[in-house]
Every structure is written in C-alpha cells, then in structure tokens.
C-alpha cells in the first residue's frame, strides 16, 4: 500500500466522521456522488483538495468522470487531466464511493504487471532507444496514475543486434508477469524476435520497425501502429518528382535493413517515373562523407536522398554537401526528424526535406500531458518517443480490458490488442489494426527545415 493512498484513507476517514464541507455551487446530488461544472481557475487537484482534503486524490475525479462519460453523453472523456475546460461537467464521487474507488485502486496496485521494453539502450542508436524507453515509462506512469494500476516497465538492451534481441525476448517470455512487449527498433531485430514472441503467444508492438514484410504476411502477435516503408517510398518519390520537380537523384543508404529497404522503394518509384537514379552505400560508423560528396557533386543530381538513422551523419553529409557547393536538394527520412543534426549542420540544414512516419509530439495537442511530464523528467526529446508512448498505451489499454474482464492472460492481451479501436490517441491519430496487424490508415508526413525548425509541408 503506497504512501499516497494511506494518507488519503486517513483523510477520508476524518471527513466521514466530521461534518463534511458542502459545496456552495448548489450541486446536483445523485447516487454516490455529484455533478460539478468546472469554474474558472479549477484544477482537478484543487477540486480533490476541496472535496476530500487531499490534492493527490484527483485521479478519482478523473476516473469517475470518464466512467460516467461511457454511459452518459452529457459527460465528456478527459483525455488530459491537466486540460479541463470551464463549463465542462465532472463527476465527483462522494466520500464513500471515493473510498471504494481507492480500495479498488489499491487492489490494482497490488497486482504484478510488467511491460517489457526492448531497444538499443547503448551504442550509436542509444539516443533513440533511450527516448523510446523513457516515453514508454512516462506513458506507463500516466496510466498508473489514472487507473491505480502499478504496471512496471522492465527493459532489455538489444544493441540493435538480432541475436541480442532474441536473448532479451526469451528473458521477457520467461517472466510470467510480463504481458506485452514494446519494441524493438531496427527491422532486422524485429524480424529476428517476431517468431520468438509468436511461439510464446505474447504481444509485441513495435514503435519504429517499418520494413514491409513484418506485417505482410505478419503474425498474430506482432503489431505495428506506424505506417510501413511501402507507403513511404512512393510518398517520398512522388514529392521529389511532382512537388520539387527533380529528374535525377542520388540515393545513399547506410546498409541497415531499414535504410536499404526504403532506398529500394524510393529507387523503384523514381525509376518507374522515369528519373535517373544513382546509388551508394555508407555504414553507420562513418564520420566523413567528403569523398562521397566529391562523387555526388561530379554527377550533380537534383536531389540527394539519405534515409540514415544516425543523426550526426545527417548533419555531416549536409555540411559537406555545402562545403563542396552542391546546389540541389537534400532529402532525408525518419532519422532526419531529430533537431540535433540540424544544429550540427547549421545553415547547411536549411531547406532540407524529410518524411516521417509519425507526427512530432511537440506539435500534437493530445500529447501535451505526456511531453510535459517527459520533459520534466528526462529533458528534451525528438520524434521517436511518440510512437513508443502510443504503442505502450495500446497494450496498456488491452491489459486494462483483460483485467476488467477478469481474464488477465497473455492470450487475452493479444486478442484485446487486435481489437484496439481508438478514435483518438496520444499522437492525435485513430488507432485500429487491419491485415497483418498493421495500423489502418497511417500516413507519412513531409517536413522541411526552415529557420532551424521542422515545418510540416505535406
């Protein structure tokens, strides 16, 4: 029993014994609680303080209002407890009901539920893995506060290595309290771990593996709430030719399966549309592209496309293209959605285009709660964490439904994840899964670097 609920119970007890403070706003009394209309300067915690004498009891109002909203249209669901609007209707349980809810929350807190997170936590892609991990943790934190569960995140470092990934997978599977796994990053690692989770009948939901074949045909336990490369290649090629009007391109991949896969798609689309295409491969360890640039400049293509994932490389290539006076357009993919390379390249980054599989949480209203909390705990962030929080929320929702149905098993979590049907989500997009457990819809966004920021252009 945690400290917060303990002190809350004591306070509730005092309240029941004492007179209780009647609200001055002439509330409508109903069974076990009262309706309340939000006034200016109201916060959930303030209301909790007023009604229960404990600022920390605010999740009860949140949870109760959302529960009411499910059966009564005059109530609206509170997505973000920090954002309640004046005039909005809340449901404030009376002390007896609140006590019962606290008891319920307490019993939930006693259940050992874990979500496995796997990703590159060390090495060159560590920033990505760490961001995904911390976003998953933040999402779990918010979920725990809202529902009273005490879900834990257990983490495993894949080092972007398929074999290491399999070992991590086995470890999660062996832990009976792990009900779903978020991760990994890197399509090659997803590919290696996919059959392992399938055999174990456990949900695996990836925030960033985009290779097509992962959901085509796919497995029953593998979920992808982000669009795949099959959409990105044509989107990019189309933008290059029809919007930018280029007829020649130089494609550079970094030899990772994600990068080569996407480059293949773009190459196919460009070639089909009649553009001249040249191509080269670098590695993720390279720190100098001067000689590549020398070759590029010699053939002077209209666009240089580099779906790299190591942000420092993106900056170096941009700066070196500028150093050797390349005059065309620089075009990146998801890895480009990371402000650090823009800082690296300075003015050389200006005008660069990139396509990204998810919106930037900085700009998503529905993510505000998540990002504020994240920022307070972990500092600045890029765009990889959003899908990780989204994935986490999807499996948390499934776990909650299974629990409510008194059937908290891995098999149920698989079923419920597949049945996910959200009209809105933390990234502001609807989430449901279609064939191969690929998200329905899903689109790529095209951004341009303008004045050192990412600006959505399509």
């Amino acid at each position: 029993m945690n400290k917060i609920s303990k002190s809350l119970l004591v306070l509730l007890l005092l309240f029941t014994l004492g007179a209780g403070v009647a609200s001055a706003a002439a509330p409508v009394f109903q069974d076990g609680g009262q309706e309340y209309i939000v006034q200016a300067d109201d916060w959930l915690s303030k209301l909790a303080d007023k009604n229960y004498g404990d600022v920390l009891a605010w999740p009860i109002i949140w949870e109760a209002t959302n529960a009411k909203a499910a059966e009564d249209d005059s109530f609206a669901v509170i997505e973000n407890p920090n954002l309640i609007e004046v005039g909005q209707k809340l449901w404030i349980p009376d002390t007896g009901a609140a006590e019962a809810m606290m008891g319920d929350r307490e019993s939930k807190a006693g259940i050992n539920i874990k979500i496995g997170f796997m990703g590159p936590l060390t090495g060159g892609a560590a920033f990505l893995g760490q961001e995904q991990l911390n976003f998953a943790k933040t999402a779990v934190q918010l979920f725990n506060e809202r529902t009273g569960f005490n879900v834990q995140v257990t983490e495993g470092d894949t080092e972007i290595n398929p074999d290491t990934g399999k070992i991590v997978a086995e470890r999660f599977i062996a832990d009976d309290s792990v009900y779903a796994v978020v991760g990994p990053a890197g399509s090659q690692v997803c590919e290696a771990t996919q059959p392992v989770f399938e055999a174990a009948g456990m949900v695996q939901i990836t925030p960033s593996c985009t290779r097509i074949s992962l959901t085509d045909p796919g497995t029953a336990t593998f979920f992808r709430p982000v669009p795949h490369d099959g959409l990105q290649g044509p989107t990019d090629a189309n933008y290059m030719m029809n919007v930018l009007g280029v007829t020649s391109a130089y494609l550079v991949d970094d030899q990772s399966s994600y990068s080569t896969g996407l480059t293949d798609e773009v190459e196919a689309a460009l070639t089909a549309a009649g553009a001249t295409v040249e191509r080269a491969s670098v590695t993720q360890q390279d720190t100098d592209f001067s000689s590549l640039v020398t070759t590029i400049v010699a053939s002077n293509p209209g666009v240089v496309f580099f779906p790299g994932q190591i942000s420092s490389q993106l900056g170096t290539l941009a700066a070196q293209l500028q150093e050797q006076s390349y005059g065309g357009t620089y075009f990146l993919a998801d890895g480009g959605f990371d402000i650090s390379w823009v800082d690296t390249a300075g003015e050389a980054a200006e005008g660069t285009y990139l396509s990204f599989f998810a919106p930037d949480p900085h700009f998503v209203l529905q993510a505000r709660d998540l990002t504020t909390r994240y920022e307070a705990q972990y500092g600045d962030y890029g765009a990889f964490g959003g899908p990780s929080a989204l994935s986490t929320n999807v499996v948390l929702g499934a776990i909650e439904r299974c629990f409510n149905a008194d059937n908290l098993t891995r098999a149920c979590v698989v079923e419920e994840t597949a049945a996910t049907n959200l009209a809105d989500s933390v990234l502001g997009i609807p989430v449901s899964f279609g064939a191969g457990n690929q998200i329905n819809g899903g689109e790529f966004f095209i951004f341009q670097v303008q004045d050192g920021n990412f600006v959505l252009v399509q």
Binding site: T287, D288, S291, S340, T344, A345, E347
Partner: protein, 306 residues
C-alpha cells in the same frame, strides 16, 4: 569536373586524423607490446573536452575570445585532459597487469573503453553533439585553388596541425633524452632499466604524449566533421590501429605513413570505385602491405630477444 584534387584533399584530411591516432597506438605498443584498445576512446574524450571549451567560450552571444585563441585553448585542454586520462588508464588498468598474461591487459583495455563510452552516454548524452558547422570557421572560408576547387580552412587546420605535431614528435623522439629513453625501453626494457632509465616514468611519458595527440585529433575531427558521439572512438580507433600496423607497429614514421595511406585509400576507393567499398579497400591495403612486408611499411620484424 576533375575529382582528383578534391579526392587528395579528402584523403589528406582523413589520413591526418588516422595518423594522429595511429601514433598513440604505435608508441604504446612499441614500449609495452600492448594494444591499447582504449586509445580510440581517449580520442573521443578529447573531442568532448574540446566541445566543453567551445560551449564555454562561444556562448550564444558570440565568441568571448578571438577564434584562433579559442582553438588553441581547445587543443590545450584536450591535450592536458587526455594526458591525465591516459596516465590514469595506464596506472590503474595496465600497470597492475604488467606481468600478467598478455590477454589480461587487453581485456582491461576493452573494459576501460566501455566505461568511457557509457560514462559519456550517461553523464553527457547518448545523442551526437555538434561543434556546429561555421561556429569557429566560416563555412565559406578557405583557400581557392583555381576553378571550383577550394580547400576549406578547417581542412588546412587539420593537415597543418598534424604536420606540426609530426615534426615536434619526431624531434622529441630523435633528439631528446626522453625520446632516447623511450626508444631504449621499446627495444629492451631490462637493459634500459639497467642503464638507469626509470621505466615507469618513460611509460607515463609515452601515455602523456600519445594521449595528447589523440586529444588533438578529437578536437580536429570536431572542427572539421562537426559532430561527435560517445561511440566515435571505436571505428576511429580501429582505423588508427590498422594504420599503425600498416606502417609498422612501433614505428613513428610508420604510423604517419600508415595513417596517410589508409586515408588516401579510403578517399580514392570512395571516388573511383564506390563509397560502399571504402572500408573494405582500407583493410585490403592492410592485407596487401602485410603480405609484401610482414613488419609493415617502415617496421622491422625484430628477432625476439631470448
């Protein structure tokens, strides 16, 4: 456009960095017969020290000192910081194992390497940091070599600094008592000790000099290629090691020659074959050199003492 001159410039830049790193490998190997696999990470730390100085001396309001002074201060701090680090590594990771089987210091070298990388990842950032293009040296500055060809000031700085370092080091090794002592210890550690050479001090000096050069290389890479990351030491260390083997491990001019050869091989392979094969070509150079001259370009296979 003729790509040859630009390719040579690219190769010289890269080769200079490799040469500076290779020197540290070669010197330590020469003296201790130890592959100091933490050396690449000392170089990485040098880049981060340079970054720290840069952040302090160039706040967003503009540089506090003239740019050449700032660059000098960056070199100075990186050299001193890396020297201290190098000496500490020798003292705590290698010296206790000096009489242990050869594999032991190798493992402790790898351990140091992981510690340094994780330290930076945890305390600074797992993300790449940037010296910023144009922060110190204007993007469009450089020497015009006619036509479209321009050699950027940062590259002039890299190549120039490397040449100065090489000359200073050669003088140090050839003509000073510490240099003589280092060569003596490298050739016969017991005999050197018997001639009154304080072997431990010579080893410390070797780590100071090698680490300072790595620190300079780290700062130079930050200035010329902009971005630094906690993992940058791995491949650079591997290339520096390859360069020192190509040149003849233990040989100072060999390390320079090896560094330049590997840098040039990469640049030429990128432009005239394919950038995809540049690392393969670099290691192919290693294989070919070792087939023709097993001791490396300028190395001698000394008969092991009995």
């Amino acid at each position: 456009m003729d790509q040859l001159p630009q390719t040579i410039i690219n190769g010289l830049t890269l080769g200079s960095v490799y040469a500076l790193i290779a020197l540290g490998y070669s010197m330590v190997y020469g003296i201790l017969k130890l592959l100091n696999f933490a050396h690449g990470d000392v170089y990485m730390i040098g880049a981060y020290i340079g970054y720290a100085v840069l952040v302090v001396l160039v706040p967003s309001t503009g540089p506090l000192l003239p740019i050449p002074i700032i660059i000098l201060v960056m070199f100075l701090f990186a050299m001193v910081g890396c020297s201290i680090l190098g000496v500490a590594i020798e003292r705590f990771a290698y010296r206790p194992l000096r009489n242990a089987p050869r594999i032991a210091p190798l493992i402790s070298a790898l351990w140091v390497s992981f510690v340094l990388q994780n330290l930076i990842q945890l305390t600074i950032s797992p993300r790449p940091l940037s010296y910023g293009s144009g922060t110190l040296i204007p993007v469009n500055s450089g020497i015009n070599l006619g036509g479209d060809l321009r050699i950027h000031t940062a590259r002039v700085l890299v190549i120039g600094t490397t040449i100065v370092m090489m000359i200073a080091l050669t003088y140090f090794i050839r003509s000073t008592k510490w240099g003589r002592a280092m060569r003596a210890v490298a050739m016969d550690i017991d005999a050197a000790a018997m001639m009154g050479v304080d072997v431990n001090r010579v080893i410390v000096v070797t780590f100071i000099v090698g680490s300072a050069l790595a620190g300079v290389a780290g700062v130079l890479v930050g200035i010329v290629f902009f971005s630094i990351q906690h993992t940058m030491g791995f491949l650079a260390g591997l290339k520096g090691f390859t360069a020192s083997v190509v040149g003849g491990i233990g040989s100072i001019p060999g390390a320079v020659a090896g560094g330049l050869l590997i840098g040039m091989a990469e640049a030429f392979a990128s432009v005239y074959i394919s950038v995809t094969f540049k690392d393969a070509v670099a290691f192919l150079v290693l294989v070919i050199v070792l087939l023709i001259r097993p001791g490396g370009l300028l190395g001698r296979l000394l008969v092991q003492k009995v």
